[in-house]
Amino acid sequence: MCGIAGILYRTPKAYYQPVGHTLLAMATCLQHRGSDSAGIAVYAKAERQAWLQVSWPAGAALPEPREILAAGGGLLSQLQPETGGFRAVVSAMEPDAVGALTAGLEQQFPGATAIAFGKSLCIHKTVGLAEKLGEDAEDMTGTHGIAHLRLATESRIDPAHAQPFWGRPYPDIAVTHNGHITNYYKLRKRMEARGFSFASQNDSEIIGMVIGEKLAAGMGLEDALYETREVLDGSFSFLVATTDGIGVLRDPIATKPLLYVETDDMVALASEHQALHRVMGNGAKVREIVAREVRVWSRA
């Protein structure tokens, strides 16, 4: 129950577009759709190594870096504190290893939550209004990204339940969702039985995990979305981002809005018109993602 937005720059080899700035401008236009929490996920040029971002419970001090690195069982290095938590390099990409690492960290440091992982993905989330995301988020550059304004429905309001959600344990997958997945409970039980660990009680978290599993099995994003359409029940308009671009899916009865503008250079997506016109100009031709529609845009 929320506002969502996305931006993709298609200019070849342009890795330093003002993605954070653009997403925050769009988020400001959608603020009225949810003020419980806000967040953006930005994709920068891929680094050589993958980073894990962990959010730390508000008010609690970070332990000594070596204590965290020790908890990483040799997989963590280059720990850097950042607003609300830390990031560190992970010397593994395999889902099993990453899943075990994040679950282990969360167990050892209660309240800590792994919020992003990958070579290009970086996520900033905050409780409250989008303006609280601050300059760190605003200054992020890259090729594309997605944003979320949350109106909490059934699960808690805290950074771990804010969106975008990382599609854990898979690298570089993020999702921003408006709606409610009504078969979340059973889906989650089945995924937990297969070894997945969840960071929240928020139904939206499962979407990126469902898609991530299909991508990891070798499926393309478009096919993964068609399959996901048959797996999910309930109301949804969502954006899923990978290193390559952004995909979208809307539920069969079009309960939640999703609009887009596409030009040769850019694709912008949002729940409502004004966010699109703000960044694409008043003359932009706005189209609707229709019921049941799957669409994928790749960066250049």
Binding site: P257, V286, A291
Partner: protein, 231 residues
Amino acid sequence: MTTTIIDCEVRTTREINLALREAALEQTPVVLRNPDCRHNLAVGVTTPLSVQIDGHVGYYCGGLCDGVDIRVTGDAGWGLAENLMGGRIAITGSAGSAAGATMRGGTVIVGGDAGARCGIAMKGGALIIGGSVGVLSAFMMQKGVLIICGDAGEGLGDSLYEGKIYVRGKIDSLGSDAVIVEQTAEDAAMLESALADAGIHAAASEFQKIVSGKKLYNFSTKEKEIWKTAL
């Protein structure tokens, strides 16, 4: 006659709508500039008023109105002209979901496409869409006329009670108890006049007509097929 020009950028929605009410009292036409997709513009105006909106509007533009003449050069969000009683609301661009929802009179014209549930629970009036409409349009339509110059999404006219739907393009699927019938000469005359009024060039003969099969009027075990999902 003087025209009141309102720059939305420097006014709250409250101030804009109050200014519209004042203009309605004085019978002064109004031009709204820089609407910037604002929600709830020109709602609840129940006395004659002419409003020109230069730009895109948000949700419920012209909702709960009677006797207005609203023209929008741009797109609209959800619930355009919802529950309109009388008058005319026309936009040049596209409309979001539920355009003309529960309208009971007057004319609504959308130059471009309309989203899902266009004309849902219509109770009268005429809703004319220059482009295509989304899923479940005219769901539970009760009265009135819906004219779709483009294509229609799945479930068109599901469970409609009365009212007439005309579609020029392709219909993805008809809803429960929506049936295609032959056009009459009366239909053709009405269509031609409505299309001319909307400034749309199309011949009445290009449209298919859809009405209620009336099998959902009263429950019957003899109509098992149609009732299996309708209740």
